[in-house]
């Protein structure tokens, strides 16, 4: 924490309220003022970006049952951050959460911590939470997320919207959504979710465990698709999975197993990233463009499924204990979310306690997966009473 008392000479852009282009004033802030005042500083920067752009974009979505309004300072950042939300667009109610997003096009960056990430710590982040505001800075991709908790307003800044890695665009503003939704009983989890109109399963496990195999196999078969990487889950009034993103991320060689999803405008293949630690990206699929019939906003949760890749050649389902399901869901979620803790673990425990859990052996036959999941949902019945 050395240097915490050092001062910051910030070329802070202050809108003058006359509609003319913002001017820049030199403002001296120390680190504590810069961090604690993010919820006051971000509006100034956003207004400056709006003035500089002159082309603001507003989009409205319904996410996990809440009206969310996204304001963008320009259409470039709007395009990069809304593609994965397309299946949730169209809410006309007064927003419960508003997120303002901008990039540094000739204006000052907001106050940022001096932490660095390299190949050894590629995903290093700085996190701040004083109850009034939460902030997370991702130095490798120059993204700052801020939530003004009592105002229900989020602030998203990036240095260069065109340079945001596609994998980040596939799951945009997830930290702000994680913090805000958690306060409303919706826990973001690292899981895929597929099913049908009457219910679905949460597919859990760490990266490489087979989540995408299951979710893409089910999407290919026309089953309802709520997500591949991050979804939100609520326990009351009934266990329910809420879609956050229509995207999926898959290793390029793995995509060969899903030829129906491997071509089209919804496929974004990795280019060699200019961000060195991330120069081996996955292919991103936008399911609402590839299979407009499969993305859904959510469904009742009937079961938790833990994939297991086997060499046996046969696929099948077997019940597993609740502790094993929680051990598959919680550590992976908490590590991936960066800022989750005891409250998140408790929320996931309550979720696991409500539905039965199964191990899904993946024997190599992609076509066998969707019928197994469908049969499981049928066996569980509409109220899930056949299990736990």
């Amino acid at each position: 924490m050395a240097g915490h008392t050092s001062s910051l000479l910030l070329r802070q852009t202050v809108p003058d309220g006359t509609g003319t282009p913002a001017r820049a004033d030199d403002v001296t802030l120390n680190s504590a003022e810069a961090t604690n005042g993010l919820h006051r500083i971000c509006p100034q920067h956003f207004r400056a970006a709006l003035t500089a752009s002159g082309k603001p974009v507003t989009r409205a979505f319904r996410i996990a049952g809440h009206a969310v309004r996204l304001h963008f300072a320009d259409d470039v950042i709007a395009r990069r951050l809304t593609r994965a939300f397309a299946h949730l667009e169209g809410d006309t109610q007064e927003p419960e959460l508003t997120v303002n997003a901008w990039q540094s096009t000739g204006i000052a960056a907001p106050p940022l911590p001096a932490i660095h990430s390299d190949a050894a710590t590629r995903g290093a982040v700085a996190h701040f939470d004083d109850g009034r505001a939460r902030a997370l800075y991702q130095p490798a991709i120059r993204i700052l997320n801020v939530l003004d908790v009592p105002q229900d307003v989020g602030w998203f800044w990036t240095e260069d919207a065109a340079g945001i890695p596609e994998w980040e665009c596939a799951t945009p503003i997830r930290h702000i959504l994680h913090w805000w939704l958690a306060e409303r009983g919706a826990q973001q989890v690292h899981a895929a979710a597929v099913g049908n109109k009457s219910g679905g399963v949460l597919v859990v496990g760490k990266g490489g465990s087979g989540k995408s195999t299951v979710s893409l196999a089910c999407a290919t078969a026309g089953m309802a698709y709520a997500g591949d990487d991050y979804v939100a889950a609520t326990v009351t009034p009934e266990p329910y999975v809420h879609s956050l993103y229509s995207s999926a991320k898959v290793e390029p060689h793995h995509l060969l197993r899903f030829p129906a999803l491997s071509e089209g405008p919804g496929v974004v293949r990795p280019e060699r990233s200019e961000v060195a630690p991330f120069d081996t990206e996955k292919t991103v699929l936008y399911l609402h463009e590839l299979r407009p019939d499969v993305p859904v906003s959510g469904f009742p949760l009937r079961a938790i499924v833990l994939p297991k890749i086997t060499e046996s050649g046969t696929s099948g389902l077997a019940p597993i204990s609740a502790p094993r399901a929680l051990a598959a869901l919680a550590p992976s979620t908490i590590v991936q979310l960066h800022t989750a803790g005891q409250d998140a673990l408790e929320a996931m425990k309550r979720l696991v306690a409500e539905v039965p859990s199964f191990e899904l052996e993946l024997g190599g036959e992609i076509d066998a997966i969707a019928p197994l999941v469908s049969q499981l949902l049928t066996d569980l019945g509409s109220d899930g009473t056949a299990g736990r």
């Binding site: 204006i107 760490k206 550590p331």
Partner: protein, 151 residues
């Protein structure tokens, strides 16, 4: 060791118990653990403020097994939990907790030896994606050059 008391090493360690098994996650290392058998009970007693002797006594009254066997198993588990940084010694008098722990006694049943299973498969992600928690002093320190240039 008998009079020592411990607490869960929160907030670095988080834990929940489901179906008699405790899942513990060390946020600092990414390692996670299953505490099974009678282990979740041991953790529960420790969280209530019981010292090691009280934990042994409570389990001895609750399980059908020689006291020495139970004592050995409890000491081994507590040593494992402390070695993994999941619990830390707690200062202070334990007498106030005696009644609370005694009230937890149940009918005697076959002893399930407590054990700790460790999983390290998340460790790499934590090492690659470290989280720098920032306190009230603000961001660790600023980037004068970048800020002054408006970058």
């Amino acid at each position: 060791m008998e009079r020592m008391r411990f607490r869960i090493n929160a907030p670095q360690v988080i834990t929940e118990t489901i179906d008699g098994e405790a899942i513990m996650i060390n946020l600092g290392t990414g390692n996670y653990y299953s505490v099974a058998g009678s282990g979740a009970e041991v953790c529960g007693f420790l969280e209530q403020g019981a010292d090691v002797e009280m934990v042994i006594e409570s389990l001895s009254q609750g399980y059908e097994a020689p006291r020495d066997s139970i004592a050995s198993a409890v000491r081994d588990l507590i040593a494992d939990l402390e070695r993994e940084g999941l619990i830390v010694p707690l200062e202070g008098d334990s007498s106030a907790s005696v009644v609370a722990v005694a009230a937890e006694r149940e009918a005697r049943r076959p002893f399930e030896k407590p054990y700790l299973e460790k999983y390290t498969d998340m460790q790499d992600l934590v090492l690659l994606d470290p989280v720098h928690e920032v306190d009230e002093r603000g961001w660790p320190h600023v980037q004068p050059a970048a800020q002054a240039d408006g970058a």
